[in-house]
Subunit: 196 residues, 2 copies
Amino acid sequence: MGRPSVQDQRKKEVLDAFMSCVVRYGVEGATLEHIAAQAGLKRPLIRHHLGNRKAMVLALGEHVVETFSKQTETLRVALDEHPDVRNLIEALFNSDGEMDPRINICYQALVNSIEIYPELRKPLLESMEAFYKVAIDIVLASHPKADKQACEIVAHGIINLFITTDAFVPLKPPKTWGYSSYFAALKLAETLEEKT
Amino acid sequence: MGRPSVQDQRKKEVLDAFMSCVVRYGVEGATLEHIAAQAGLKRPLIRHHLGNRKAMVLALGEHVVETFSKQTETLRVALDEHPDVRNLIEALFNSDGEMDPRINICYQALVNSIEIYPELRKPLLESMEAFYKVAIDIVLASHPKADKQACEIVAHGIINLFITTDAFVPLKPPKTWGYSSYFAALKLAETLEEKT
DNA sequence: AAATTTACTGTCAGTATTGACAGTAAATTT
DNA sequence: AAATTTACTGTCAATACTGACAGTAAATTT
């Protein structure tokens, strides 16, 4: 009874606003006022729903890790149907709107804040490990004859290139930069093909 | 006449301290007090030498761009002697102590702060363009018969992989991650070899 | 309609950060 | 030694940020 709770919804909204602010101002530059304004709420209200600043940062960490894990799972389905490296690359780089471009930037920002929030280290590390693992599995399944170590290197390379996809967006770089990581990932995948 | 000026030296020391703080706390998290403590100086003194906070951030931008440009030049000499892709990769990934690992992290942090300091955009963009250009030139000179576009893609890929080298360091990742970008870069370079 | 629970706002105190500047100390010239 | 220039320190006011909480409004149950 009583007024129905909207905490779950509000939390998501606030964390979404937090992400946008982290992209613009960094973790420490994202003030509670910034976040509240971005979410269209008053500052005391976001505190009511999420607690103090530290709790918010940790919640953001969970949120990013969770979103990351969902993306990882989305990739795993591409494995089940057609365990092909190109499918992996397409899913990573050309899934229109599926991947939130803010996630990678926030992830990196949180990694760099680990000295302030050491609790973030473990979940961030584990989510990235899972991400690598899925990529490695796909590459291995896709090229069963290829050298195992080569597959791991290619998988790592593809993921690392993916990480940089949106790294330069604030620079408004020439269009040629935009797809460079994508094309490089494709070339990297080529190295596993049979050499005829 | 008068007491000899140590501004040039002090500026360098402060900017070096600023870099260390940006790596730990991000651009906005690096307070003047942090920077001063890191440099072993009093806060009013760093102001005396470098001006207010905004001036310091812009000076840091110049410093990073300058260091970046020096690294770019260091690479160009590797071009003149042996324009080989492997030399490029070795110079990037295995030049013990030559490359300051903080530079990439600071560069990325500054890129993400462009909305606050728009003046940084142009120099940051240009320094990265120069960096790409040198890499492309080396790859082209190294493989004159190869497809031009392929060379550009490989060069971009190598640089983008280089960018990620120290991205995960705060996570204290397993050793296997450490060289993944390096090995991936080598594999990427392989794609330009003659297919026999 | 009363009670209850939650959403939301206004506001204040404590702290952190920055900017500013007066004043002192040190090194150099004349 | 006096003058001059710069390095450096102490300190205070203004501002920004956060934490806390009382109090109001809204939605639901009985």
